[in-house]
Symmetry: C2
Subunit: 111 residues, 2 copies
DNA sequence: TTTTTTACTAACCTCTTGGTAAGTAAGTCG
DNA sequence: CGACTTACTTACCAAGAGGTTAGTAAAAAA
C-alpha cells in the first residue's frame, strides 16, 4: 500500500497543483488577458482597447499578478509618452495551448 | 472584411464563450468537486471527506450551481438516513479531459 | 500655453464569495 | 427513550475581488 502511494502523487501534492492552477486562471480577467497576449506582444493601451470592460486599475493589477506568477513579462521602452509591452514567458507559452482549449468548455455548455 | 468576420467567430461570441467557461471553473472549489465526481459517482458525505477544507454550506451551494449549469446531476434514494449521489452529466463527461489537463498548468508553475 | 498621449498610482466603496455555527427530518441502533 | 446518521437549510459575518474617480510625469503637438 505504501508502494502504491510512492508511485503516484499524494493527495496533498495534487491539491497544491490544482490550487496553483487556480491561482493563475481564477479571476474574471486573467484568461482574457492571457488570450490577448498569447498570440502576440501587446502594449498596455492595446489590451485596454481589446478588453474594454475591465477597469484600468484591475487590468494593471492583474498584469502585475500574472508577472509575479511568471506567466507574462514586461518590457519598458524609455520613450515619452511611455511605451510598455507585455508578452508571455516561456512557461506561459508552454501552457497556452491548454488554456486555449478551455473555450471548448464554454462551447459545450452554451448549447 | 465582412466575409472575414462571417467565417470566424465574432469577438462578442468568443467573449461569451470564455465567460461561460469561467462561470463553470471559477470559484475555489468547482474544479476540486468536478475532479472527484469525474472518476466515479460520489455521495455527498464522500465529497466532504475527500475535500475536507470546504465547508458544508459551500459544498452544497457549489453542487447546486454545477447542477444548474448542467455539469453534474444528482440521484436521490428514498432511504433513511438519506442517500444522494452525484455524477457528471454527459456534457460534464465531455469536458472532463480538458479540465483534467489543467493540472499541467499548476505543474509547470510550481517548478 | 494649453492640450494630448501613455502608463500608471491612490483613495474609497460595493458586491460577491466563502466561512462559522446552529438547527432540521426521519428513521436505525443500543 | 436517547444517541447517531445523512444530507441538508438558515442567519450572520469577514475577506476578497473588482469598480469608480481623480491624479501624476514628461514631452510633443496645436
Amino acid at each position: 500500500m505504501d508502494a502504491k502511494i510512492s508511485t503516484q502523487k499524494s493527495i496533498g501534492t495534487k491539491h497544491s497543483i490544482l490550487d496553483k492552477t487556480l491561482e493563475i486562471i481564477r479571476g474574471k480577467w486573467r484568461l482574457h488577458i492571457i488570450y490577448q497576449i498569447g498570440t502576440e506582444v501587446r502594449r498596455y493601451g492595446e489590451l485596454r482597447r481589446m478588453i474594454p470592460q475591465v477597469s484600468e486599475k484591475v487590468l494593471i493589477q492583474e498584469l502585475k499578478s500574472l508577472m509575479n506568477l511568471g506567466v507574462i513579462e514586461k518590457k519598458i521602452y524609455n520613450e515619452v509618452p511611455p511605451r510598455v509591452e507585455y508578452a508571455l514567458t516561456s512557461k506561459g507559452r508552454q501552457v497556452l495551448p491548454i488554456l486555449l482549449k478551455l473555450t471548448t468548455v464554454g462551447e459545450v455548455f452554451l448549447k
